[in-house]
Amino acid sequence: MKIEPALKTGVTNDQSLQKGNGGNGGMRRDLSGRQLAVKGLSGLGKLLLLVYSVITLYPLYWLFISAFKTNQDFFNRPYGLPLVWMKENIVRAWELGHMGRAMVNSTIVTLAAVVLTILLSVLAAYVLARFPFRFKKAVVGIFLAGMLIPIHSTLVPLFIIMNKIHLLDTYGALILPYTAFELPIAIFLAMAYMASIPREIEEAAMIDGNGWWGIFGKIVLPLCTPIIATISILAFLRFWNDFSFALVFINTQALKTLPLSLSLFSDGFGTDYSLTMGAMAIAVLPTIVVYLILQEQIMKGMVAGSIKG
């Protein structure tokens, strides 16, 4: 886009040289034209960015205004603001749509899996980052290979395995595989972080008479707080939003997580739009709030996680 005005000025420069005197005015006009073009271009760029942001944000805005409408209002003026702001939709979704129960389930499963992920991954990362031992390369290789396995390809065999060990339809059916699939990313993030911590601190603690567990608990874990925060955010978003594992491994209504309960709205409450919208608003709100507070960390963490994955 920018190249055209540049070429044009080049051409007129040559012409102005040939024409001598008369060319001057033309050259000046071209220069200002070029500046104008650059300005216009950056204006165009800004406009483009603005339009794209609106495209990204509009569906969410629409979800939230629709969540406060009556069914009638939703049908008659799908894109206007609510005539009356109906808080009842949220209450109805919470109770009638089992969203309250689903929120409790999602919280339990997510919290348990996040804590387990952090414990296991930081411990494993500590061992892999600091200790030489015989099968180290093989262990790292296994975790790396696991990251390449498409997650959905494990649904059927996991279902069979969990059925055998009677894990289906329990919180464990979600907590354990969530943690397992999050481990490689968490371990590699933690390992990379530990590489930047000088060993001298740990050696000093060792001289003070601490065992490995003491060093880990008193020195390594506190020093790793920033990376633990990153791992927690990534894990929280992944677990909170997971749909496929919940869909396959959970059947009992009382154990359903938010995404799974929501998915039933696509047919169960098909025509009760205000109820569906209210339920979606409930499900989305926690992640939006977390995102608004921690967006820089979330962006960096997700990108680091996806590149390593």
Partner: protein, 291 residues
């Protein structure tokens, strides 16, 4: 001081829980599905060995091929859609102003939404009577373009690919911004002296400088598109008439609805093989180009 023996004990106790959990829920299932893929099994009673029959059936099933084609459509659409959009936005967002930070946050936001919510919202957008897509088309006088986006087999895969692209541009944008900011100012100056500006600079200076990053995003696009499952399950369930099946939904629908765990295992194994193949092909292609 910890002795060698004690540190061996520590290594075992600290590493084994993570390793065992990972092996059991991520690695073992791969071999398990490879094994059960040779059986016919209803989920109860004895499984009977049928050799390669599951794979034979899969290759003769037109829906399997359609699912594979749909997956490739998603891969293509995310390579054509996400990477150029993210690159263009990144080029426009290089300056670290408040406005560009706002745009970046907005573009990234769908990444934190539940895929179920994304699927449901876009289901409404594509709704035939009052959906946003048809409403806008009617508003700008393109009445004839309105259609049942999710049920018309001509367009429904395209319609499904849009929300997937919509929600995934964010990470690519952040990756590209970081890569572009890493190009040293000297390169910019050199390019200016050599007269490389605009498209020419993008093509001959900027793109080669960030080629490594582009390769990374290509790999992410491929593996990301193979992960698409939630959107389809929520928006169409693979229908109508199984026209929007992906490999993963094909596996799901031909396992849990009809209790065919042997067949489902074979499809699972196939998904792993195909994804390994795609990543391998991509690796070879991009290595040659950059070399």
């Amino acid at each position: 001081m910890p002795t060698a023996l004690r540190s061996k004990g520590f290594i075992a106790v600290a590493l084994l829980p993570a390793l065992l959990l990972f092996l059991m829920f991520v690695i073992v299932p791969v071999f398990w599905s490879a094994y059960y893929g040779f059986f016919s099994w209803k989920g109860f009673g004895a499984a009977s060995f049928i050799g390669l029959d599951n794979y034979r059936e899969m290759f003769q099933d037109g829906i399997f091929w359609r699912a594979l084609r749909n997956n490739l459509i998603l891969v293509a659409s995310s390579i054509i859609g996400q990477i150029p959009i993210a690159l263009l936005l990144a080029l426009l967002l290089l300056k670290n102003t408040l406005f560009s930070r706002f745009v970046r946050s907005a573009v990234f936001m769908p990444m934190v939404l539940s895929t179920v919510v994304v699927g449901l919202i876009w289901g409404y957008i594509y709704q035939t009577q009052f959906g946003l897509a048809n409403t806008v088309l009617r508003m700008i006088g393109l009445e004839s373009w309105t259609r049942a986006w999710l049920s018309d087999p001509q367009v429904n895969m395209l319609a499904i690919s849009i929300p997937i692209n919509w929600s995934n541009v964010g990470p690519y944008l952040v990756i590209f911004i970081a890569a572009l900011q890493n190009i040293s100012p000297e390169v910019d100056d050199a390019a200016k002296i050599d007269g490389a500006v605009g498209w020419r600079k993008l093509l001959y200076v900027t793109l080669p400088m960030i080629w490594g990053t582009v390769v990374v995003t290509l790999v992410l696009c491929i593996s990301g598109s193979l992960k698409a499952f939630d959107h389809v399950i929520v928006m169409t369930g693979g229908g109508p008439a199984r026209s929007t099946e992906l490999l993963a939904t094909y596996m799901y629908n031909s396992t849990f609805d009809v209790y065919r765990y042997g067949y489902g295992s074979a499809v699972s194994t196939m998904i792993i093989l195909i994804s390994a193949l795609l990543i391998g092909i991509n690796y070879i292609l991009t290595r040659q180009k950059s070399g």
